[in-house]
Symmetry: C2
Subunit: 327 residues, 2 copies
Amino acid sequence: MTLLAEWLAGEGVGVASEALLASWNDTPARAAIVDFVATVSGAGSAGFVDPAERVAVFDNDGTLWSEKPIPIQLDFTLFRLAELAGQDPSLRDRQPYKAAVERDYRWLGAAMVKHYHGDDADMRLLLAAVESAFTGMSVDAFEAEVLGWLKDASHPVLHRPYLSCGFAPMVELLRYLEANGFSTYIASGGDRDFMRPFAHSIYGIPPERVIGSALGLDFNESDDDTQLVYKSKLEFFDDGPQKPVRVWSRIGRRPLVAGGNSNGDIPMLRFARTGSRAALRLLVLHDDDSREFAYTAGAEDALERATARGWTIVSMKNDWGTVFADS
Amino acid sequence: MTLLAEWLAGEGVGVASEALLASWNDTPARAAIVDFVATVSGAGSAGFVDPAERVAVFDNDGTLWSEKPIPIQLDFTLFRLAELAGQDPSLRDRQPYKAAVERDYRWLGAAMVKHYHGDDADMRLLLAAVESAFTGMSVDAFEAEVLGWLKDASHPVLHRPYLSCGFAPMVELLRYLEANGFSTYIASGGDRDFMRPFAHSIYGIPPERVIGSALGLDFNESDDDTQLVYKSKLEFFDDGPQKPVRVWSRIGRRPLVAGGNSNGDIPMLRFARTGSRAALRLLVLHDDDSREFAYTAGAEDALERATARGWTIVSMKNDWGTVFADS
């Protein structure tokens, strides 16, 4: 939070920061956001919430940036799995190495959809390979690997650098919330340490506010220069009911604003509300196949609940004047 | 961090904040702290470190507040275990319930010392009981339980409220570091959710900056009002090599300042230094049996390493003019 934003928030005049939402069309979704923020941050408002308790959590894949045809992290993992298959030819006919070598997005995309529908067989194959893909690598080397890959990688369908695949209106929303006293966090099923190296440049979110899935870590203290190195085992997969667990573990507060786009985000969005306190729940609807993608697979339950419970559905097509910052 | 402190840190003139260390005597330990902070925060200093990377982590028990005759959390757990033994008489002759009912601090203190010496038999008994002491309780109910107990609980030897058992010089050090652009964290073997309810009032540290051991959590979504409830299983015990793992998991940065007082803190203090960057490692030495306690049991290796490697040993007796704020 900038000094100006902090001052504005303290003074309760942060509502003027509405101008930060420049890429949002003047629609009911935008009004719901602005009204909620005014309610919790307005001095003298009946629904005033102490700034320390103004916590906003957002899923990443499909919520802050594109996740089709496959989550961007999977493309990074493909690059790594293909490299491993190059070193060990016996891997080449086994999934997911086969898909990695052949760059077969269909197998991988289907594995994600099956997961959201409750069939985890392919996801387990994928996770086992992901779990072992970085065994023994230090956290510092991993960070360099992510940044090195991301520097040149681009989206296979949108034909833009992955580093430009963040949704401009959501980045504006992060700044708008911060200008109104919120602390913003990413809370994603994606790997925490994969997101950390780029979360600041794309979203303005520092590593300590990135929550996600995690590989186990070992502390290697054999040298004077100690290292944290990855195990070949996931510590937890931060999706579904794990999301509120990880949000609490990290923050120790219930979120006041929660945003997602799929069934795996339902528990986190539900966790935001308590009997005594309202919450803003945002669900990004991918209905824009001219500027991004149109799909609801894996989000059916979330959309149904959003409609039934009055969560705010954000239509990319109708609510966003711009999707990507430089388009 | 206050606005003034943030401005001072940004301007690189935070060194003036030395006056914040009022309870420290003018000794080499204090000079080592002030010199290090000047080196990393002084504008134009060769050792300047970006404020975002100025992370300070401190153990809690024995570092920020007293841990003798037993860690304060154990007294809370005793109260709970005695309550459970009252409900189930078959527990009364088993350890650690027996010690809890009889308030036998010796058994419990010895279990801690044995643990630091590598003998975990009694610690395992204790942890098993601790693990199951709050099964099914919600995080909100647990917070209320901690605050309710702490409100009236006092130290059996120092005869002061537990809420006044924080070391005044260490609280000043937290403020001094923050005034110089640092983010301060607790990184303790104690239970994260036990510390969170009081960390702000005693140390000025909010829940999102409290790192510690954790019980597993389940997300209970059967009601409209969702709850996180404790499992009867520790997720991890945040001591020894787990400390750097948990610091990284939470923050995603190596600490620049690390403070502790026992062998269990060695890995965290070692983790603070890298080949390319110096670190300030502080080891609190309990050598003051007139104002607090004098002991080195469980800290032998840490003291040896501190001497060999030039870590800064903080003598309660010589370096602190005041130990407790209101004494």
